[in-house]
């Protein structure tokens, strides 16, 4: 059973999004996603300052098994990227909702976050996907 914290929002493409105190949004991949991908060997982070549209592929996580795109959960601008992942991509496996974050962005339209799933909805989504 994968870990799905209740304070986060989730996308169907298995990203999590955390709304920070300053209104910015931190993004990573879900525990379920890191578990399916396996040991991370490389994370390609976006450029800070890059504008992205909702659902745009803007990062790549590469594991021993596969490489997978990471999509922006909402439209906005990338304001910070996790440079530490260059040297220790395995952080995505070991601390997926903490130090394993991938980028931080500002949302053009904050209400777009409401279109994402809450923990309960994501858990049912995971359950439906596993069938």
């Amino acid at each position: 059973m994968s870990n799905v914290p209740v304070d986060l929002k989730y996308a169907k493409t298995h990203e999590w999004a955390r709304v920070n105190d300053d209104g910015s949004v931190t993004v990573g991949i879900s525990d379920s996603a890191q578990d399916q991908l396996g040991d991370m060997v490389f994370v390609e982070v976006p450029e800070s300052g890059q504008t992205v549209s909702a659902g745009e592929a803007c990062a790549v996580v590469e594991s021993v098994k596969a490489a997978s795109d990471v999509y922006a959960p909402v439209a906005g601008e990338i304001v910070e990227v996790n440079e530490n992942l260059a040297d220790s991509p395995e952080t995505v496996n070991t601390d997926v909702y903490g130090e394993g974050w991938i980028f931080r962005m500002t949302a053009t339209d904050k209400s777009a976050l409401d279109t994402l799933m809450d923990a309960e909805a994501y858990e049912s989504f995971l359950a439906s996907e596993s069938h």
């Binding site: 490389f42 596969a66 490489a67």
Partner: protein, 466 residues
């Protein structure tokens, strides 16, 4: 088991499973205007006896001329052992081996090829080759646009001293991807790309600068200054280079303060014979930081759980079978057999041998230029140093000189008038280590006689500069 594993029953079962009536139905969505109705230009098959005869007749039309033409493909000596070993059963495949458990020998050879190329170019990593020098440059352009994430322009500075065929190939491959190749003119005195001529691009968003060295005219470019300039502009540097020249010249990895970012080129001079334009192979090396943007196969070395050395394809997440449409290239294969020959060639020559070849080529080309320019109608066109190829200017119509030389079974050089009409009667000549003093004398003798016969009074003799 039949060679083609799908029997009619298999095909029928598969079609039934997906509910298609026949194979044609699978292609329904492609409009008929885009479909090939047949290969009408391909003649009917021939029996072995007939094809043998045809191929012998074709082969006999090659008069094995004495070659003073380079222009991207060079007539080098290839030790007999190279192809004797390359065509052994263990190596004789054009295909890249995927199966580490069955292909350790080939994988180790490819790993050693990469090590040699990285050493020769002074770059961090090499792939196991691409199709040829021209498509390698096109791939390098695509790679630079992906890798230079600071640049949004998709503009590449492409000096006109880069091989014209390479420029055409690059244009064909990148034009529909919104990438612009911007011509940079050359200096008419030096035949090089003058760093000052780039000044008006300063402050503009440029993804990369291409530097061919030696350039198409054989001229040595000011690689350090050009590289420094590009890096100051936030542009990457793509080196296109002749691997033999790197035995003597400063390798791309050492250009300027930080070195070129990508180095590519034509591998033909390393053990691949001239054969009607190919097959040849391209090579590509880059800085470690860019390796995940590199196209092509890469072999990695590792140790197994018993501590034994082993080799396997690595970084495959760049490739088509894993990354699909977002792969670094839709060409994810290599020229395995030619790379096998090149690796054995380099191993047999060694670093010193390759440097000797490069020195002999340079010396022979200087001798050739000296002898041909003894004729007052022939002059060196550019005043900058050359490697093993250079441009001669004729003060009489070049075509009238070349035709009789061809008739003497001589390839006198590459006529530049089509690609560079502004140069007038200009000929790109090359003498590799395979040309002897007697060969050069033969060329000079024919040339002098032909020129004399065409200029009743001969050319006005001017004293040569000391």
């Amino acid at each position: 088991m039949p060679f083609i594993p799908h029997t009619e029953t298999d095909v029928r079962d598969m079609l039934d499973a997906i509910g298609a009536s026949d194979i044609d139905q699978l292609f329904d969505e492609i409009p008929s205007s885009l479909r090939m109705s047949g290969l009408s230009a391909v003649p009917v098959g021939m029996a072995e006896q007939e094809i043998n005869r045809l191929m012998h007749e074709r082969a006999d039309t090659d008069g094995r001329p004495l070659c003073f033409t380079g222009a991207g493909a060079y007539d080098h000596h290839i030790p007999a052992a190279v192809w004797e070993i390359t065509t052994r059963g263990e190596f004789y495949t054009a295909y890249t081996p995927y199966q580490a458990e069955a292909s350790q020998g080939t994988l180790q050879l490819l790993y050693e090829f990469q090590t040699m190329m990285a050493g020769l170019t002074a770059m961090d990593v090499s792939n196991t080759s691409l199709y040829d020098g021209a498509s390698a440059l096109a791939e390098a352009v695509l790679m630079a646009v992906r890798a230079n994430r600071k640049s949004k322009s998709r503009r590449i500075l492409m000096p006109t001293t880069v091989h014209p065929h390479y420029r055409k190939t690059a244009h064909t491959i990148v034009k529909n991807q919104g990438i612009e190749l911007v011509d940079v003119p050359y200096c008419s005195a030096g035949g090089n790309t003058v760093p000052d001529s780039l000044r008006h691009f300063e402050g503009e968003d440029i993804a990369a600068l291409v530097i061919q060295n030696p350039n198409f005219f054989g001229v040595i470019e000011e690689v350090d200054t050009l590289t420094e300039w590009a890096h100051q502009q936030g542009a990457l540097v793509i080196a296109s280079t002749n691997p033999v020249s790197l035995a003597l010249l400063k390798p791309p990895g050492e250009w300027g303060g930080q070195g070129a970012d990508i180095a590519c080129g034509e591998g033909q001079p390393l053990g691949v014979p001239l054969a009607a334009g190919g097959p040849y192979f391209g090579f590509m090396c880059c800085k470690q930081a860019l390796v995940r943007q590199m196209p092509g196969r890469i072999v990695g070395g590792t140790i197994d759980r018993d501590g034994r050395e082993g080799y396997t394809l690595t970084l495959q997440a760049r490739e088509q079978h894993i990354r699909r449409s977002r792969a670094t290239s839709n060409i994810c294969t290599n020229q395995g057999l030619l790379v096998t020959a090149a690796t054995i060639h380099m191993a047999l020559l060694g670093a010193e041998g390759l440097a000797n070849v490069a020195r002999a080529c340079h010396a022979n080309t200087r001798t050739l230029v000296d002898r041909l320019t003894d004729n007052a109608c022939v002059k060196p066109l550019f005043n900058r140093p050359c490697f093993h190829e250079t441009v001669l200017q004729f003060s009489l119509p070049l075509g009238d000189v070349l035709r009789p030389l061809y008739a003497h079974n001589l390839l006198p050089g590459y006529d530049l008038s089509k690609d560079y009409p502004e140069l007038g009667d200009a000929l790109l000549v090359c003498a590799t280590e395979t040309r002897t003093t007697a060969d050069i004398e033969l060329y000079a003798g024919h040339l002098n006689r032909i020129i004399d016969s065409q200029t009743a009074a001969g050319c006005p003799v001017q004293p040569k500069m000391a």
